[in-house]
């Protein structure tokens, strides 16, 4: 029997949830096919298929789907709604409507599984979700349970790696190949910089033009949202009178508080997509908070299809130079008075 091929676009939720779904589908006897890492080609495809007012990540998603559609039997395009028990926390409305957008703008799509991911209700929401997805593949019973358990194990391992600061693609590859992670290359660093934003911007090396590698060479230690210990991340909720409505946004703003008040980095860079709705609010909150905590230097990097490597790096370099200068001045003041 030939294996059923399930397509998983290598963007958006890929960076946080792929290990889970890869394991789950593989254990069920399917073959999981991902699109290639983002390139100029995915972008061009995406721009062709999407409303031109959409943000870069949504365009990229369309591009990845367009690339995959002829290679697979089924497209897995979960409708991400809620991933925890909070009444008012959902994903960005563009995620909520994503399957509908894709369906109505890309022609000749294969079968789609767009099960709603809502983990806010029921006793075992994740298991219920897996059961429903498996059902659409006509799999039932114990094998589904086993696949679910296995997937969960794999995902837990993956999360651990992230907290340890293992590079995301390496962590994904390691857990699905069942091997030990290679340690990331070690650089000597003198500056701690929080690089905050949504996983699909931060971890896609086409989108961020190889940011992390280059930061290492510049002597900068990057800190991300995923590197905040989970319980510390949630503890930061107290700093806002009202939580934001979007899961990734809450993670980003809470990480900001963490790096400002607990971990105390030298500076914060917010990586955002040009025209991103939620980030209009998140960015302002971050800016004000950084201003009133010290101030800690804050830089917004807004990415769109025109942002070139050069543009990003001149800005980062200038920012880092400023940080180093600041430190030197501080030390001078210190030695003069101390």
């Amino acid at each position: 029997m030939t294996q059923l091929k399930i397509g998983f676009p290598r963007t958006l939720f890929y960076f946080l949830y792929y290990p889970f779904w890869y394991t789950f589908f593989t254990e069920l006897g399917c073959e999981v096919v991902t699109s290639l890492p983002t390139t100029k080609y995915s972008l061009d495809l995406g721009v062709e298929e999407t409303v031109n007012d959409a943000c870069l990540p949504i365009k990229l998603y369309h591009g990845h789907v367009a690339e995959l559609k002829e290679q697979v039997d089924v497209l897995f395009m979960p409708r991400m709604v809620k991933v925890r028990k909070m009444e008012t926390e959902v994903f960005c409305p563009k995620f909520l409507g994503l399957p509908d957008m894709v369906r109505n703008s890309i022609a000749d799509l294969p079968r789609i599984i767009d099960e709603k991911v809502d983990l806010s209700k029921g006793l075992f929401p994740k298991w219920d979700l897996c059961r429903k997805v498996a059902e659409q593949l006509e799999k039932r019973g114990f094998i589904v349970w086993q696949a679910y358990r296995q997937a969960q194990k794999c995902q837990d391992k993956f999360k651990q790696y992230l907290v340890q600061g293992i590079e995301v693609q390496e962590a994904i590859d390691a857990v699905i190949e069942g091997r030990i992670c290679h340690e990331s290359k070690q650089f000597t660093t003198d500056i701690d910089l929080a690089i905050l934003g949504y996983p699909y911007l931060i971890y896609d090396s086409f989108v961020n033009v190889g940011l992390f590698e280059k930061l290492g060479h510049m002597g900068i230690k990057p800190w991300t949202v995923e590197m905040v210990p989970p319980h510390r991340l949630e503890a930061q909720a107290k700093y806002l009178p009202k939580s934001l409505f979007w899961y990734f946004s809450n993670r980003t703003i809470r990480a900001t508080f963490y790096y400002l008040h607990e971990k105390k980095v030298d500076g914060i860079v917010h990586v955002t997509a040009f025209g991103c709705g939620p980030d209009a609010m998140v960015d302002k909150l971050m800016e004000l908070e950084a201003k009133h905590s010290g101030p800690i230097p804050f830089l917004t990097l807004s990415l769109d299809e025109q942002t070139g490597e050069a543009g990003i790096f001149t800005r980062i370099e200038a920012f880092v130079d400023m940080l180093r200068l600041r430190r030197k001045n501080d030390e001078n003041i210190f030695s003069h008075h101390g």
Partner: protein, 363 residues
């Protein structure tokens, strides 16, 4: 206390009365102008939606007039509007003002807070609960009458013989509606206004094009934000209806009306998820306008508006299936009246051609 509130269409007349009736001094911010817009744009994040910017500008202008408290409505997502209040407050504070923004979120979800905020407002205004309930009726009646008058003006305008007359009469109506205080006076004034609008000389032999206006609620309701699109179209001889009016919206916000349920059902084949704002309405209303035989639909969306961008991605399919022309206008601080006029004229020309084409085919 000096209390202000956001400006949204003509509703300020009703809110002004309500604030006065619960024992406070209403501060009505100037109706939004280019200055409001540039104030808002200056201090708001670049990609904040237009309603956020205009409201911020309005608040700053209200503060200039001495507002100590600003009362606004809130929300719980999934779109940004529910978070406006928090961020507005932070920005205003950062600018060094101590004006407080009191946000009323849904009473069902934040019952205790809702009541304590209300209590505070009443206590500082030395108003009893009984007086408060009594104050509610006239404000409600005014809101309703204002909606009716506005809707009628859109019905009359495409038939007016002297271009611009409806707009003049409508302005007079707003002045008239500002005065009455008791429910019966309000009713009477409302009737006078209706009569005034009906008396406008009209040419009933015209067969105006019919265009439905859909989109995000604030830009639908506030004429400054939509560059007065309905009056403009009316004077071009087009009959318009828009998906939402404030009075109905407040009613619908308390529970899903039959109309809204139907709209959501009509949207189902295209969009199966509530996506916040009025994204799903935009889809369903388009289907509904098509079924009612409208010639076209215009989607009004603030630049960077999340749900309307999703809706826009889906509308081409709806337009194709339902055979109705749809045009989307994204509104931002750069958009001018002239640009809008040109786009509207082009769209109207297109619709006229289609109609002729269809008539010729039918013969």
């Amino acid at each position: 206390m000096k209390i202000s509130f956001p400006i949204m269409g003509n509703s300020y007349l009703a809110f002004k009365q309500l604030v006065k009736d619960i024992g406070h001094e209403p501060i009505v911010a100037p109706l939004p102008t280019a200055r409001t817009m540039s104030l808002g744009t200056m201090y708001a994040p670049e990609f904040a939606c237009i309603p956020f910017k205009i409201m911020l500008g309005t608040y700053l202008e209200a503060i200039e007039k001495g507002a100590e408290v600003i009362v606004a409505s809130g929300g719980h997502g999934p779109c940004r509007a529910g978070y406006y209040g928090v961020l507005h407050q932070k920005i205003i504070q950062d600018l060094g003002y101590d004006t407080k923004i009191i946000v009323f979120d849904s009473i069902a979800k934040t019952y205790k807070e809702f009541i304590s905020k209300l209590k505070w407002l009443l206590k500082t205004g030395q108003t009893s609960w009984w007086q408060f309930l009594k104050a509610f009726r006239p404000a409600w009646a005014k809101l309703k009458a204002l909606d009716e008058i506005e809707i009628l003006s859109y019905h009359v305008r495409p038939y007016e013989i002297n271009t611009g007359e409806t707009t003049r009469v409508y302005r007079k109506c707003l002045q008239l509606m500002d005065e009455p205080i008791t429910p019966s006076d309000i009713k009477e004034a409302g009737e006078v206004c209706v009569q005034m609008l009906r008396n406008i000389p009209q040419d009933k032999s015209r067969k105006p094009l019919k265009i439905g206006i859909i989109g995000e609620i604030y830009v639908l309701i506030e004429p400054f934000a939509n560059l007065d699109i309905q009056a403009t179209l009316g004077e071009m001889g087009v009959y318009t209806e828009r998906a939402m009016h404030l009075f109905h919206w407040i009613k619908e916000n308390t529970k899903l009306s039959r109309h809204e349920k139907k709209v959501i059902k009509l949207a189902q084949p295209y969009l199966r998820q509530m996506i916040g704002g009025h994204g799903i309405n935009s889809i369903g209303e388009t289907v509904m306008f098509a079924e009612r035989g409208f010639d076209g639909v215009i989607q009004l969306a603030p630049f960077s508006c999340i749900p309307e961008i999703v809706a826009k991605g889906i509308l081409p399919q709806v337009s194709h299936d339902q055979e109705i022309s749809v045009m989307t206008i994204f509104l931002d601080e750069m958009m001018g009246k002239a640009g809008m006029q040109t786009r509207l004229e082009a769209f109207v020309d297109l619709l006229l051609q289609r109609r002729e084409h269809r008539l010729a085919e039918a013969l």
